[in-house]
């Protein structure tokens, strides 16, 4: 059964068909939610809410990229959650997960084929990027997550956030520039070939 058929079946109330779509996109949905929220628990809540909302509103899907449509719902759910938590103090960015587990490199994320060094490097990069993402305003964060992390093209991103193409372009440029400045603070943690030059360092 292909994606279009699954969507059609799900529209008729076939929950099993919809759950196949959930399994196909839950990594992308969760990953997007995590990058947006910067918090594992909040990301899980947002992802679950988004799938429920997607099932309920399948009739509003008018074709095109199902992934873009779904991620738009994830983004909206994330926006709502961020608005609700606006007055809540910012969560610390230090990795202190439950049971001593590093939230930036939890067991479920580790690739068994990696060497410990590679795994540590990836965890550092992950942490640095998430820290810098958390420092961006939401509207910039959303665009950079969709385009540079989720790999959407401009049109898909524009469709996801319901904004003109020009808005995506300008926000992405500014977001990249801000990320660039932020990542310079993590120069030593980044892969050798991708270290950004910083002022005073040759």
């Amino acid at each position: 059964m292909d994606e279009i058929q699954m969507i059609e079946f799900a529209r008729t109330g076939d929950l099993d068909a919809f759950n196949r779509l959930v399994l196909a996109y839950q990594d992308a949905a969760y990953s997007t939610a995590y990058r947006l929220m910067g918090d594992r628990v909040a990301a899980e809540d947002v992802t679950q809410d988004a799938f429920i909302s997607a099932y309920r509103n399948l009739s509003s899907y008018r074709g095109g990229s199902f992934k873009a449509w779904l991620l738009r719902i994830v983004m909206n759910a994330g926006y709502d959650e961020l608005r609700r938590n606006k007055r809540r103090p910012t969560t610390p960015l230090e990795p202190d997960g439950l049971d001593g587990e590093d939230l930036d490199e939890p067991a479920w994320l580790r690739d068994p084929g990696e060497t410990p060094e590679e795994s540590a490097m990836r965890a550092e990069l992950n942490r640095a990027i998430q820290t810098c993402l958390d420092g961006l305003e939401v509207e910039f964060r959303v665009v950079v997550v969709l385009v540079d992390i989720q790999g959407m093209d401009y049109r898909e991103a524009a469709e996801s956030i319901r904004s003109p193409l020009g808005t995506v372009k300008s926000r992405l440029a500014r977001a990249r520039s801000r990320m660039q400045e932020c990542l310079k603070g993590f120069r030593e943690l980044l892969p050798a070939g991708l270290r950004l030059e910083t002022e005073g360092i040759p």
Partner: protein, 241 residues
């Protein structure tokens, strides 16, 4: 050191990296990149940043997010409840607006039953207005030169004067050609109308002691609007699980 470039150039560089520039803009930028080392350096750094971002691993979902029948059904029930409450609130608001508008257009007739309320029903008002020309005549025919002066000497027709002070004015046309017998008849009508008004008020008070029906209806509708609207909002704010 990162070179300073304009926001417009930054946007061009970013779009260039994503191959989102038109052919003309791309060619112009490429020409500039050859002649402007600062711009070239800015682009290299932006490219590195972009590459870093693209190396960010996609996270794996820590658990399955498949939906259960219970999750969906509970949620749909909540959604339906919210929709019903919202509809109820809207309908009640429309009815309330209609009732209030009607009440205002009828001159607050709904307040007739309220003890102490000074407003009279249209029927009574009409009867009283019919009597006004005669009162004007009693007060003095010369007053027709001052049509807006509705003051009536209380020692002549005290009761009618009391009614008039609350009810309105007479026009000059009303006073022309009226004689004293007509005035006497008008005073009779005034007394009769006043009596009817008192009787009606007493009947209203007996039907709904203390509070007029219209106020009860308006209060009830307003309560429905608020309660249903608040209920819909609360249900919608409930996070689906």
């Amino acid at each position: 050191m990162t070179p300073q470039i304009s926001p417009r150039d930054l946007e061009f560089l970013s779009a260039f990296l994503d191959n989102q520039l038109s052919t003309r803009d791309r060619n112009r930028l490429q020409t500039r990149l050859i002649g402007e080392p600062d711009l070239k350096q800015a682009m290299d750094e932006l490219r590195t940043t972009r590459e870093l971002m693209r190396r960010t691993p996609q996270l794996k979902a820590p658990r399955s997010f498949v939906l259960s029948r219970e999750m969906v059904s509970v949620n749909i029930r909540a959604v339906n409840l919210a929709r019903s409450l919202r509809s109820l609130s809207v309908v009640a608001a429309v009815l309330l607006a209609m009732v209030v508008t009607g009440d205002v257009l009828t001159g607050g007739a709904g307040l007739r039953g309220f003890p102490g309320a000074g407003a009279a029903a249209p029927e009574e008002s009409a009867a009283l207005v019919q009597a006004e020309p005669a009162i004007e005549t009693y007060a003095g025919a010369a007053d027709t030169s001052a049509p807006t002066d509705t003051t009536v000497p209380s020692d002549i027709v005290p009761e009618a004067a009391g009614n008039l002070s609350a009810e309105g004015t007479a026009t000059p046309e009303d006073t022309i050609g009226l004689s004293a017998p007509a005035g006497e008849e008008a005073v009779d009508k005034t007394e009769q109308a006043d009596m009817e008004f008192r009787q009606t008020t007493e009947i209203q008070e007996e039907i709904v002691p203390g509070v007029p029906v219209i106020l009860l209806v308006e209060g009830l509708l307003a309560a429905i609007v608020l309660a249903a609207g608040l209920g819909a909002w609360i249900v919608r704010r409930q996070r689906p699980r």
